[in-house]
Amino acid sequence: MDNLENKSPFLEIRGLTVEYFSKETVVHAVNSVDLTLEKGRTLGLVGETGAGKTTIAKSILRILPDVGARIVSGDIFLEGTDISKIPEPEMRKIRGQKISMIFQDPMTALNPVQTVGSQIEEVVALHNAGSKAEFRRRAEEMLELVGIPKERYSDYPHQFSGGMKQRVVIAIALACNPELLLADEPTTALDVTIQAQVLQLISQLRERLGTSMILITHDMGVVATFCDYVAVVYAGSIVEYGTKEQLFDHYQHPYTTGLFGAIPNMSLDEDRLHPIEGLPPDPTDLPKGCAFWPRCKYATERCKQEKIEMTVTSDGHLCRCCNLDLLSQEGAI
């Protein structure tokens, strides 16, 4: 774990394991995840669909569905308090106020029959004492902050474009000056020029308010631009973790290598892409040992049998692979 200045981290997740279950199957969505985040920093959670990134975020906020999902084990410490164990009324005070979430799809994250202004006002009123007029003023402030004229307070979501809807979602998330922002693929559904606008906005607000952020994305470009630390998620586990520089310049895990290789690169002139062979594993039936071994060129017997722990390679750079020596010999890393 990365411990700058000997401060205890702002957010610390230890051994988080989450399952979705039905009568017939159990989906192992998150498998013993450890993460830390310093105050004011941004952590990127990278991985493909079904890797478990959104589940991690929802577990922090404890908004997993009541039926069919459960946190099997793990602790989530926010500034020293284990928020995974506190009673629900106390958790409600934290949601929206100390921790906020931006959801992936702005089209469905807003209530279509409520004006945008009142949706922002709602979150303000929930966490603050004051008069209706004060709440309204705060909501209007937030609209202006995200670049929407306050005259549009009484408009409905369908009257806005995708980019503007996402701004409203951001306004709601930031209305109470949260200390931790969870952004779940906030720009995936948006056009690239609008994405640039929205990311810039999030970045500016983050600077101004000193918010810590966990940014979930599958876009390495976004990670490169906005994140201080990166964690690569595969089949519910963190397979690699480090600073942005460590990860982009010295990535080690075969999956991370595969990810970088599969992304069409704007600056290189390659004829063929190098996809990762095979498919992501079935989360109801994860392979024994390392979850990645069926797709890994370097898999050994040990990979297939043993539960692999994190190896610390350099200061704070972690990799969940038992074959790092072999890989560096082969010149793979």
Binding site: G278, L279, P281, D282, D285
Partner: protein, 294 residues
């Protein structure tokens, strides 16, 4: 997920099963549906064998008036001394078949009407819907009475008169589903490979729009059995002494307090039939949906 399927199939050659066999197999996994199927098949067998199984002639009157269940008359007798059990056995021939045939005839018409309205939309849809509106605005009973009076009484005419009732509701439901599915990309894909409109409607849209109709159909049978009874009651439909279940129910109303067995047994016959059809209908709808494949 797909890897798992391949592993399971490893070694097994995929047999080209027909759709019918697949649906039956899926149905067999559903316990409720199998129960419904068994009960229903049993009923069909019973009413087929009614002449052999019935202890008495259904029209034979006796002096044992409104007697409760006894060894001689397992379900008791009615106000004219006729054995209720025999009447139920024979009555099934009328009630069950009228209920089912009227709904099936309705389905044929409503499928065509609903598909045309749903696929073409615009003016065609408008005209069709306004006609259906008019039909639906008439109280069902009134409509059926009028049809029945026009066509005359009797078994086949009653079936036709009853079926008119089901058509608007079913057509509307189908139309709604067709409209929802008509913009799907697989419809566009079918157009790009030169599928005719008829093929698109019949092969692609209809199977994807049909399933809410199946459940409606089972409820429809229940309604038709009851409506047939009302018709009998007012002298249309099947005439006495034909032991139609609904008519038996209607005729026993005034004796409910004194001889409840006269209401209970025909009522039970109707209820069991409807239950069986519902279970079967639900199971069928699920079995037809490839997404729910086990």
């Amino acid at each position: 997920m797909t890897e798992a399927i391949i592993q399971r199939a490893r070694g097994a050659q995929p047999k080209k099963k027909s759709e019918f066999v697949r649906v039956l197999k899926q149905l067999s996994y559903n316990r409720g549906a199998m129960l419904g199927l068994c009960i229903f098949v049993l009923e069909l067998v019973i009413i087929l064998l009614a002449p052999i199984l019935a202890p008495y002639d259904y029209a034979a009157m006796s002096s044992a008036i409104r007697e409760g269940p006894s060894l001689a008359h397992l379900c008791g007798t009615d106000d004219l001394g006729r054995d209720i059990l025999s009447r139920i056995l024979y009555g099934g021939r009328y009630s069950i078949t009228m209920g089912i045939f009227s709904v099936m005839i309705a389905v044929v018409f409503s499928s065509v009407i609903g598909s045309i309205a749903g696929y073409f939309g615009g003016r065609v849809d408008n005209i069709i819907m306004r006609i259906l509106d008019v039909i639906q605005s008439l109280p069902g009973m009134l409509l059926t009475i009028v049809m029945s009076a026009v066509l005359g009484s009797g078994y086949f005419n009653t079936i036709l008169a009853l079926s008119v009732n089901c058509i608007p509701g079913q057509a509307r439901m189908l139309r709604a589903q067709m409209m929802k599915n008509r913009d799907a990309e697989y419809v566009e894909a079918s157009q790009s490979i030169n599928c005719s409109r008829l093929r698109i409607i019949a092969v692609h849209l209809f199977p994807n729009s049909f399933s809410p109709l199946i459940v409606q159909m089972t409820m429809g049978v229940a309604n038709m059995i009851l409506m047939a009874s009302s018709l009998s009651f007012i002298g249309l439909g099947v005439q006495p002494p034909a032991p139609e279940w609904g008519a038996m129910l209607a005729g026993s109303r005034e004796f409910f307090r004194s001889s409840p067995h006269m209401v209970v047994f025909p009522g039970l016959a109707i209820a069991i039939t409807i239950l069986a059809l519902n279970l079967l209908g639900d199971g069928l709808r699920d079995a037809l949906d490839p997404k729910l494949k086990k």
